[in-house]
Amino acid sequence: MATAVIANHELDMDAEGFLQKPDQWSQEIGIDIARQVGIDPITDRHWRVVRFMRERYLQTGQAPTIRTLGKESGVSTKELYQLFPKGPAKLAARIGGIPKPHGCI
C-alpha cells in the first residue's frame, strides 16, 4: 500500500491516486486532488457532483455510474463532461476520496 502526502496529511492511496480509506478525506484534500488533475478552481457545480458521489458511496458501498450522476446529482450528463472532461465518474471519485469504480475482474 502506497501512501502520499496531500494537504499535509499522510494518506493511503493506490497507484493511480485514489484514496483507499474514505474517512481520511477532507474538503481541503479534495481541493488539492482537483488541482492535481487540472480542475482549478473547483466550482460549486463540481462540488455538487463530488459530494453526491461520495455520499452515495458511503451509503451503498458502490460509486454511482455516469448514468446515475446524470439523472440524480442535479448536473446533466453533458455538463458532467464539461466539468470533468477526462471521465466524470473517475475524477469525481478521486476528488471525493473514494476508491476507483471497478468491475468484478
Binding site: 493511503d12 480509506k21 458502490q62 455516469i66 440524480e72 477526462k86 469504480p101 468484478c104 475482474i105
Partner: protein
Amino acid sequence: MTRIVILGAGTAGTIMANRLRRLYARDVRSARTTITVVDQVERHVYQPGLLFLPFGGYEPEDLIRPHRSQLHRDVTLLRETISSVEATANHVHLQSGRTLDYDVLIVATGTRIAPEETDGMTGPGWRERVFDFYSLDGAVALRDALKRFEGGHLVMNVVDMPIKCPVAPLEFVFLADDYFTKRGIRDRVRITYVTPLDGAFTKPTCTRELTHLFDDKGIELVTEFTTGRVDGEKGVLASWDDREIPFDLLVTVPLHAGAEFVQQSAGLGDDLGFVLTDPHTLQAKVAPNVFAIGDATNVPASKAGSVAHFEAEILTDNIRRYLAGEPLVPDFDGHANCFIETGHRKALLIDFNYDVEPVFGRFPFAGIGPMRLLRESRLNHLGKLAFRWIYWNVLLPGHDIPAVGPRMSLRGKKLPVTPTNRTAVLAAH
C-alpha cells in the same frame, strides 16, 4: 398462518421457494405456511446459455423450461404482473387488480435490459446490425446475423455498470474470435471491445494476468467510453465526450435496471430500480419483513447466478430467524464464483467476494483442485458446460453444491494481503 410471497421465479426466486418449502415442509403441507411465487412469464430461461446460443452452441429449446416444473408442487405459482409493493400495509398490488397479503416478502425480480434508455439504440438498425444477447430474442437474432456476417468491424460494447454477469461481454469477444477462426474468416473480421471502465480488467491481479488474452487474440480495446448514442443506420457508436466508433455489427450490453414495479413502490429501490438491501443480512431497508436476493438488490456483489445461490443459503436462515423472532446473521460476504470462457474450449475460473479479489489457487479443494483459479484450462471449460445440468438439477431445487459453501473459503488460495482483506487472509493461514 404464515404467508411467504416471493416476487420473481428466476434463479433466486426459484431457489428460495424450494429451500423454504423444504425448511417448512410439514407446515406447507398442512397449509399453516403458504409459499406463493409471482412471475409475469411462464418460462424459465437458463441465462448462461445465452452466451453460447449466438455461436450455435445451443438451440433456444435447450435453454427453456416451464417455471412450474422447477417449483415443488406445494409452492403456489401465480402468473401475474406486479404493479407495486406497499410495504407499510404488507400488500403486493398486481396489475389484475388483485392484492396479495404477506407476512414475509422476498423480492427476486432480477434485472432487465433497458436499451431504449440509450439514444438511438432501438431506432433503425436494432436487431439488424445492433444486437443484445441478454434476451432470448436478442440472442437468436444475433445468431442469425453472425451466420450472415462475412467480414467487417464487430464492436462489443458495455453501456454502463452494473450489468448481469459482468464477464459475459469479455467471453463474447473471446468466443467470437474462436467462431470466426473456425469459419476461416478471422482475418476479415476486426473485433473491438468498448468499455466504460478504464480497462477490460480492472482489478490489479486480473489486469496483470489476463491482459495478454486481448493481445493473443488480436482484440482491440477502447476504454473509458461512456456510450451517448447509437446510429444503427450509419453504423456509429458515439460517446458523451464525442468519440465515434464505426461498426458493421454492434453487440451491446444495454443499460440495466431493476423491475419496473420497484420504482412504483415507495422506499423500496434506488433510481435504477434496484432494491435497497443490507449487503450482509439481505434484509431490505424499507421494512423488516421484506428481503431481497439476486440481481434485484443493490448490494455491491456481482449480478450472477452463483451469487444468488450463495445468498439463498444465508437468506433462508435469516427468514427462519426473522419468523422465530431471532436476530438476523450478517453472514453474506459477497461470494461469487464464475467460469469465464476464453474460447478454443478453454475457460478460466474465478472466486471472489466483497473484500477479496480474484486470486490464484485450486478449487474447490485446497491444494488439490481439480480446478485451477485464474488459469485457462480445458477442465474449466468442461465445468462450465456441465453447469447446465447442475443448474436444473442441483441449484434450482435448492440443494447445496458439495464442497462449495456460501462464504468464500480462503484455503488453497494464494492471497496477496491488502488493507481490506488483511484480517481475513491472516486468519486463514
